[in-house]
Symmetry: D2
Subunit: 339 residues, 4 copies
């Protein structure tokens, strides 16, 4: 049983972390903080927590925080985490950061895409990229994990088996992504007003989204060569879910059965990746779960592999994966609190 705190408890990923942790068998939630005007019971902010969690959401104070918990989940906006994470790390606390601040080993890439200087190269070196399917052994030993972005998680899991098995041309990867609106965070913006989103589908940041370099980093690291994907995200009128349809040129003649075998083998021991064989693939199958579902389609004539990768953006795409990382770091069964 460990004591856990959440900083940034009032956003969508913070709310989801609370939902998971109040049912987690090895965790006691002991500290909540957020950028708010005055401290308030969490069930004033999220009324659904009434009678389920008796805890205040406080104004962040590092001294109070470190006295109250052993491990901290930072559900903060980009550029804020980089100021908060070092405070905890200096006090030997374990930290899982859900922002982008510690995801890029090359600060030049971070600074180009996020348009700010990176102020903490020291801790950046210690940060482990928290994709368990790739880096489980490192995560086990880590005190500081940078939790992956939502789009990159679905993309990496959908692409990597093909990439490492060498069946696709890394330069041919096209990712057409569709996301629900919670992916944008919980902020007042006219662009996310209900009626601006409802009854429309929108392509945005075409080939210029800040998750593209993150996808490229993880794929390049696996391929051991520079990979440069094409990435086009779309906003869908729904709360939760990401579906990525990934188009890749095959390097050689290979049939569906063989590709299926490659994917099944790659993820054989993974508790949260399912290779599915259906006629259609929907985010509904993963909604409310920490699973990533992967479907495959091969067109042998065209030499094309189409992969559909689906996650719940707030779970495997954020808070669920953060808890999965916490479980690994703390030696808990990896599924704890997530089934």
């Amino acid at each position: 049983m460990i004591k856990v705190g959440i900083v940034g408890a009032t956003g969508y990923t913070g709310e989801e972390l609370i939902k998971i942790l109040i049912k987690h068998p090895h965790v006691r939630l002991t500290y909540l903080a957020a950028k708010i005007d005055k401290e308030e019971p969490i069930d004033k902010i999220f009324p659904h927590f009434k009678n389920r969690l008796d805890l205040k959401c406080e104004i962040f104070d590092i001294e109070k925080a470190i006295s109250r918990a052993d491990l901290f989940l930072l559900a903060l906006p980009h550029t804020v985490s980089v100021k908060i994470a070092p405070l905890f790390l200096n006090h030997k606390k374990k930290v899982i950061d859900l922002s982008a601040d510690y995801r890029f080993q090359d600060t030049g890439v971070y600074e180009k895409w996020y348009k700010v200087k990176h102020g903490d190269k020291t801790n950046l070196k210690k940060a482990v990229y928290g994709l368990p399917e790739l880096y489980r052994e490192k995560i086990k030993k880590a005190d500081f994990v940078a939790n992956p972005g939502c789009y990159p998680t679905a993309a990496a899991l959908g692409i990597i088996p093909s990439l490492v098995s060498g069946i696709i041309n890394p330069d041919s990867v096209i990712i057409d992504a569709k996301s629900g609106v919670t992916g944008a965070g919980r902020k007042a913006s006219i662009d996310f007003f209900y009626s601006e989103i409802n009854e429309g589908v929108k392509a945005y940041k075409i080939d210029t989204h800040q998750h593209m370099p993150e996808i490229n980093q993880v794929l390049s690291s696996v391929a051991d060569k520079k990979v440069d994907v094409t990435f086009c995200p779309h906003l869908i009128p729904m709360n939760r879910g990401i579906l990525e349809t990934i188009y890749m040129k095959l390097n050689k003649k290979i049939n569906y059965a063989k590709v299926l075998e490659i994917y099944k083998k790659f993820f054989k021991l993974e508790p949260f990746v399912r290779i599915v064989e259906n006629d259609a693939y929907s985010t509904k199958s993963v909604a409310g779960t920490n699973f990533c579902d992967i479907g495959l389609k091969v067109n042998e004539d065209k030499g094309l592999l189409i992969v559909v990768s689906a996650i719940d953006n707030l779970l495997k795409g954020a808070s669920g994966q953060a808890v999965q990382n916490m479980n690994i770091m703390c030696g808990f069964p990896e599924e704890s609190g997530l089934l």
Copy 2:
């Protein structure tokens, strides 16, 4: 053919006014203004107007405005209209104000519910409440019309035939209203973020909504005695539409056929009120139209009349009714641009 200007062109009611007026056979849209940082083509603000309207949305300037149009539609927030309307009226321009600023003959009521002083009692006296079904003759002669609120329009049309025919007890009226989100206006607010609205229905401002005194004013004026309704609004995950379910105690034994006759007779000549006889009543039947649909249900045993009144909140509840008023003021056929 008259020249028309819109002040407040970037909100939902402004956008809807433009949509109507670009197809209106007797109107040329010649001036658009809004609270914006710099002037821009209207199709930059609303891309769907590209190739449909070649007009700039300007920063409001009274001199420019009066030189460019004969009649002005003010699609402005409450408390702003009261500063703008007098400028036009002083220049002998016709004005239709879509805000609440000139709806209340008793400024005390306005000041109590809108929490601000009313600064223009002079023009208030000239303002005609623009509900054509009640005040068509006054509107014909008016230069200044206060366009009714969305909830009050549906309520008044649903209740008045019963009230004037004396079949109901005025003290028994309960209005349970359901509205789409555009009724709240187009503003950045976390409360209207897509995922806060989607997958939920919410009762708000129970018995305390600022449209309640407006409903009471119009009903009292018709009944010639003080009417005090119960009003409870609900927010529905949809863009457009209001459905009000109205419960009223009958004063006397009366059957469905007789009540139906009263309503049909009352609205016999009205172009935009339809008495409907279905099993179910949905806002879908009025979406995108200027109609108010009214359905009736009588429970003789309980002595209860249930009226369902449905409108499109942006049309009969705002911009459509404003154009209907404009048509009446200008002597155009009342349906012009609205069918």
Copy 3:
């Protein structure tokens, strides 16, 4: 640990029962059946159960069924349960029936509203109406529970404290209900096609819904006199949730604080009823939970009490309440599997 079977596993309430029971600490799910053409793994029917439940959904066979489980949940349409329940009861199995077939003690009422003869008056006498907040002691001893309807659950919990405390006039009750679409069950019907529901709110079965007599039965039983409410349901474009806005005439001068005290006291020991004090009441606060949230508003001048009662129609309104009843019948902690 008991073995549980579900008959009618492919509908929305069946799916929800499975979701709850695979996490339930005292239950093993051992039998699933439904009206299907051939038996299939449940994860073929609901792909989200892949890797979460390895069980087939079978064609119903009473011999197989009774050999496989101790307690059966019937998630069947009305008129079907009455044929299936006796088979289990004859074999001394515990049964919780989610249909309306055993809810009415007076078969005349059932036959009038459901338009069919009732063929099992013997077992009807043994059926306990499964509203734990009223009948917990009877449920403890019962082998056969008739699980309440969704609308009646929200109505009963919202009204009963007022009724038993004598503060309201029983003849004045008006229930304006708003429900998501899963309340209609999972069936192919053009009326529930996505685009028929989306972007509209609909009043239907006004004062004629088959849940009205069920509400009247439970209220009359509590009041010990005939209660006859007015009930008007509405269909909302959302998957889950019921919000009922209930209007009642107060019998005497009483203020908000006193009414609040009555409700708090009445539900003091209830694990799944929360009296909430907010500005607004949304189904979002209860979505995905077994809670019923109740909000109160008193208008002393008008002598009116407005109660807002919110539930998740598939949980407290159906499957969650069924599991709550199962927990009570089996002596498990009442919250098991439901928090």
Copy 4:
């Protein structure tokens, strides 16, 4: 002024045709028929037409039909049109068929993808494929037009300028399409139940959709060589709209400005195609209009052109385009009834 009849008036495209034609300045709607049990006023079927159209929807009868109108719009399911169209053509009536039955010049392709024999090769030869941007001159002279499918319309308009200008590799075309649910027609099916669609996005018929060969036919005809695209459709929780994101390899070094010029030039005189330059492209800009909006993005490093093509599937994707074709066939201004 011509008299027009609609066969298949009760589906979504039929309803939309009625909406357009009741406002059309050169048309009188004189005949409606559908597969129904008994004839009914159209406002019983679609209540929103009350007071807007006083016409019965009849059981189809060819003798009645031909006596009542000069031109017929067939809004029928595939395989039904092929039985109805010849009846009208034999009587020298003009026909616009919205089904797929007469879109394929090669019946082998039709029979392979629609799994039925084609029984009317005689009239097939006379059918002109009704994409005005390509075949306006043929449509002018035609008596029989096969109206294109929704996906093919958006695809063709988005791809053809690149194809005819030779800047892209025809074998590289990948079309990732997102559609609202009305594209599936109005039919009772559990797959389109509101809650099956809401809160999910689904990839379906991946690389196997029956609109793919239609896209290939029109592109091949333009390219004068066999084009074989990759097409993956997705179902979005919204009523109307199609957005296609199209990925194509460039044949040569070419920048954005040059591609933009090619598209602008190609569609210079087209009333219903808009080349737009925004940061994001949404179906909202075309909802309720007959426009096709096209946005462009060039990645010179990767030699990739991304085209976003958006239409309203019921207008430019079906009924709007049918009326556009009718206007061309009848010598009316092409925009009549469509602005």
